[in-house]
């Protein structure tokens, strides 16, 4: 019987892999545009670091962005558990 970690959940935040290796979004250009929009100046080293962070966050975001939700599931302006 396979042990659970042989099917490692893709949500795990690792620096070595992304959820969908076919995703090749051009984060570098996106960050150039958004940084300019927000008035952020990023040198080459910082730009590369932000691309790495964005790629890691993308890996996590892909875990839920396509999760099907009914239209009535709305965010709460002030969350009440």
């Amino acid at each position: 019987m396979a042990r659970w970690w042989q099917n490692k959940p893709a949500c795990m935040f690792t620096t070595e892999r992304t959820l969908n290796p076919d995703t090749k979004f051009d984060w570098s250009s996106y960050i150039d545009t958004m940084a300019a929009l927000h008035g952020l100046t990023l040198d080459a080293e910082r730009h590369a670091a932000v691309v790495r962070q964005m790629t890691q966050i993308e890996t996590l975001a892909q875990r839920f962005v396509d999760f099907p939700l009914e239209a009535e599931v709305e965010p709460a302006p002030v969350f009440r558990p």
Binding site: C11, A35, L40, R46, V50, R52, R63, F67, V78
Partner: protein
């Protein structure tokens, strides 16, 4: 000597006249000044304020006044709480030039009214963004159980100061696990109440959708005493619920009769090492858990909490990132910048998913009153460690120590982290999770574990 002592022991000593509040305060200050050179849990010691508050308690007793419940009890707060006359640092170098606070945070005002004595402000991860309290500017807070290891974070100073016996209790914040992770690593009891229960007025925000405040202490009686005086609505915090006071102290020792208990499996088992699993197994037996159940899609919940955290914190700090990026904490600066640039659709989907996940938890609470899960994947990691191995998977340490706490705070459930000792001298905590607004159940379960002898928090020996 009468100190270190728990909060209820200190209050009893003062009430009986066996020790004055000033004697206890001086003992706490002396122990802190001697021992914190090694631990680095405090960033500010408010000695004169503490002496003034202690003298006021002693004067009140001399007059024959009825003493409030925490009279003469020394405590300290994470340095994101406003303290009158002190700069609120939130762990950040960029805050050093800020104007000192012109008043206390709301919870400090409530503790002052309850007679507690504030001895200082405590170290944390910068902005509360981290799980290790390896603060590049203010230094690492060392774990009093093993100074080669981290104290956990982001409230590392709050947990370490209590474990080391510098304070009887502390206040902390928890956005993704920042009370529960350091409580687990340092072997102290931590309470993260329901989202919206305790006012955050006068504290420096991190992620307003997820920020909670709560106490850390060395006994469950203390947690309940402190929590009871912290409760109450406050219009100054828009997220603070207008609920009546719901005191817990009188009911915490009634045992587990009538409570239906389950263990969270699946995700919460997969990311727990053998020590974490052993702690849960021991707690499950002691609390008569009857089933292992699944809180579905907890991996997605953790991911959604991560994205909300990145987006809100990045947006909050955008102006300062524009002007002072070089002065930001290197361990979180680039993630803050990325967070400020995230697509809004991701953030909004994460918030919608939160509602869905909340409904799944609600279904479990139709069948159970208490859920048990590990608080951390493992015991405290070494200072400077970059990688940890959990069940054969190698993970970066800093973003992953909150794997097991993030899904629970994501939906605002109340939790007590109770420390067990399954691995020699290093503690590890279980999360005792109840339905919204049922902190009383968390505290009852923690007290039951404490009375069983499984959960306890001795004072750590630190160099004098």
């Amino acid at each position: 000597m009468t100190f270190p002592a728990t909060a209820h022991e200190c209050a009893s000593l003062v009430r009986s006249g066996e020790a004055s509040a000033l004697e206890i305060t001086e003992a706490a200050l002396a122990r802190t000044m001697a021992g914190d050179r090694e631990i680095n849990s405090f960033t500010t010691i408010t000695a004169e304020r503490a002496r003034s508050e202690a003298r006021a308690v002693d004067a009140s007793r001399s007059r024959g006044d009825a003493l409030p419940p925490l009279a003469g009890v020394p405590y300290a707060v994470k340095n994101l709480f406003a303290i009158k006359g002190e700069t609120t640092l939130a762990g950040a170098k960029i805050r050093l030039g800020d104007t000192p606070a012109n008043g206390d945070a709301a919870l400090i005002r409530r503790l002052h009214a309850a007679g507690a004595v504030l001895t200082g402000a405590l170290n944390m991860d910068a902005y509360a963004y981290g799980f290790t309290t390896e603060n590049t500017h203010f230094g690492v807070t060392r774990n009093p159980r093993d100074p080669t290891r981290v104290a956990g974070g982001s409230s590392g100073g709050s947990a370490a100061a209590v474990a080391a016996g510098f304070a009887s209790f502390s206040l902390a914040s928890d956005t993704n696990g920042s009370i529960r992770v350091p409580s687990s690593f340092c072997g102290v009891f931590g309470l993260k109440p329901t989202f919206g229960r305790l006012t955050r007025s006068g504290t420096f925000p991190f992620v307003p959708s997820l920020d909670h405040l709560g106490p850390i202490a060395r006994s469950v009686i203390d947690l309940a005493m402190i929590y009871d005086v912290l409760q109450g609505p406050d219009a100054d915090d828009p997220a603070c619920a207008a609920r009546p006071l719901e005191p817990t102290l009188a009911g915490i020792s009634q045992g587990m009769d009538g409570l239906r208990v389950a263990v969270l499996g699946d995700y919460f088992h997969q990311w727990a090492d053998e020590n974490a699993c052993a702690a849960v197994a021991q707690a499950a037996v002691a609390l008569d858990a009857t089933e292992m159940v699944d809180l579905p899609e907890s991996d997605r919940a953790r991911a959604a909490a991560f994205v909300i955290t990145a987006a809100e914190s990045g947006a909050f700090y955008l102006d300062e990132l524009r002007d002072y990026a070089e002065d930001f904490e290197p361990l979180s600066r680039d993630r803050l910048i990325a967070g400020a640039l995230l697509p809004s659709t991701w953030y909004l989907k994460a918030q919608r998913f939160r509602r869905w996940y909340q409904e799944q938890a609600g279904k479990l609470f139709e069948r159970f009153d208490l859920l048990i899960a590990p608080a951390t994947p493992c015991t405290a990691t070494q200072i400077g460690a970059e990688r940890m191995e959990i069940n054969g998977v190698v993970l970066p340490v800093r973003p992953n120590l909150g794997l097991l706490t993030q899904p629970i705070s994501f939906i605002g459930l109340p939790v007590v982290a109770a420390p067990l000792w399954v691995s020699g001298q290093l503690p590890i905590s279980v999360q005792l999770i109840a339905p919204p607004w049922r902190e009383d159940i968390c505290l009852r379960a923690a007290r039951a574990l404490e009375q069983s002898g499984l959960a306890y928090s001795p004072v750590a020996e630190v160099p004098a």
